[in-house]
């Protein structure tokens, strides 16, 4: 009873804050009175509905979604494998360090421009998303591996537990908070960097191209509408992926 009251209050507070933000936006747009600078929320909603009916709306979403998700998943797999190797061999950790530091510190725009020379337009956003995801996953998973309960590992050693069972019963459960937090941060970054790559590279048929066109033709409503779509896709994918991770762990604990 108490919990549901708190939950309802939280929902009301969230709705109230969203309504307030929309009101501020609407009033600001009306006061400025120039749709080129800022459009009203109503105009954005109208534009969103008209976008749904355009022939290239869903293909554009599919194009960007597929590539960014591939980049994210590749970063997740490669980052995890690298962390596993670095966790096992200190020398590997030392060898990986310059690459990880470079990827972390070089501005994403520099990578995008460099990759425009190296890669085809079709793989650009995947590769950039991959690059941005890699160090986050690597660092978090490595930290998780290092924090794994030494006493449990010692137990596994005495009982001669094989690697597969060690991963399943010891490492994966202990990595859960690190994995969830890394994925949560990395997914947002994958979307931001992937779309940025598409804008700079003007990838044909992508969401980035739509944003680029909005900039060229000064269609601010398009910019807002597509941005809204990116945010929805990013949050939706994050929620779905984290749900799947939690489902995986629930299944693991029932083994």
């Amino acid at each position: 009873m108490m919990n549901s009251t708190i939950l309802n209050r939280n929902r009301i507070e969230k709705l109230a804050s969203a309504a307030f933000a929309l009101l501020v936006w609407q009033v600001s747009a009306m006061l400025i009175g120039e749709s080129l600078l800022i459009v009203t929320p109503i105009a954005v909603v109208k534009r969103l509905f008209s976008l749904f009916t355009e022939a290239d709306f869903f293909p554009s979403i599919g194009y960007s979604f597929l590539r960014i998700v591939i980049g994210f998943l590749t970063g997740l797999i490669v980052g995890s494998l690298m962390a596993a190797v670095a966790g096992k061999f200190h020398l590997a950790e030392i060898m990986f360090q310059p690459f990880i530091i470079t990827i972390k510190s070089v501005p994403v725009a520099s990578f995008i421009i460099l990759c425009l020379i190296w890669l085809s337009m079709g793989t650009l956003s995947s590769f950039i998303s991959f690059l941005m995801v890699l160090p986050i996953i690597y660092s978090n998973i490595l930290q998780g591996i290092k924090s794994t309960d030494k006493k449990l590992l010692e137990m596994a050693e005495v009982f001669r537990v094989g690697l597969f069972r060690r991963i399943l019963f010891i490492y994966l459960p202990q990595l859960k908070p690190y994995l969830i937090s890394a994925c949560s941060v990395a997914m947002g970054l994958a979307w931001k960097s992937g779309i940025a790559a598409e804008v700079i590279g003007v990838s044909n048929g992508s969401i980035g191209e739509k944003l680029y066109e909005a900039k060229i033709y000064y269609t601010t409503a398009d910019l807002f509408a597509w941005t809204f779509i990116i945010v929805v896709l990013s949050i939706g994918f994050e929620k779905l992926f984290l749900y799947l991770i939690k489902k995986f762990y629930a299944g693991l604990e029932r083994l």
Binding site: M155, V161, P173, L252
Partner: protein
């Protein structure tokens, strides 16, 4: 083959825990290691298990297939009792066998709960079953009946006796009654010395 410990020495920095320690642990029998706190009982079995290095002396005859009940339970918290035991068992050990062992020491109503939800005594018993069911020639038990009430302790002790026949069992305990009830050789450690 008996385990023969000769001139065993272990130091942690300036502190000497074992010095010139000698003992024989008979094969396929129960041996109790007793002594006051801090006399090096746990250090001794950790050396025998190969978890810590000795500083001097020789040890011969320790079988390579070892199993143990650690001083702490060392269970995988999110998993249930069956999974925790399954982790260390060979594939030929069936889940039904594990369940039957867990039932024998009174865990029948808590088999499917994650061990983090079990009481200290229940967790201890899961650790005992795990040690018993793992393939081994020697079982080390560091205070295996700690935290158990008298009735449960009796049941668990009987379970250990019934299921460790033909294996070398080394039990660290403070309780002479445990040693007398279970029967076996007693090695009394009194700061570096052993009295059998």
């Amino acid at each position: 083959m008996d385990i023969v410990i000769s001139g065993l020495t272990k130091r942690y920095g300036e502190k000497t825990v074992l010095e010139n320690f000698n003992a024989v642990i008979p094969e396929k029998k129960m041996t109790f290691i007793m002594g006051p706190s801090g006399c090096g009982k746990t250090t001794l079995i950790n050396i025998l298990m190969g978890l810590i290095e000795k500083d001097g002396g020789t040890i011969t005859g320790v079988p390579s297939l070892k199993s143990t009940v650690f001083q702490e339970d060392r269970l995988c918290e999110g998993f249930n009792a069956i999974s925790n035991v399954r982790l260390v068992c060979e594939n030929k050990v069936k889940n039904q066998d594990i369940i039957s062992h867990l039932e024998r020491i009174g865990l029948e109503n808590n088999i499917l709960k994650p061990v983090i939800e079990l009481s200290g005594g229940m967790r201890r018993r899961v650790a005992v079953v795990r040690a018993v069911l793992a393939k081994s020639d020697i079982i080390f038990m560091d205070e295996p009946f700690k935290g158990l009430d008298e009735k449960t302790k009796e049941k668990t002790m009987q379970y250990v006796v019934d299921n460790t026949k033909g294996k070398t069992v080394v039990i660290v305990t403070h309780d002479i009654d445990e040693a007398n009830t279970l029967g076996g050789k007693i090695i009394y450690m009194n700061h570096f010395k052993s009295v059998s």
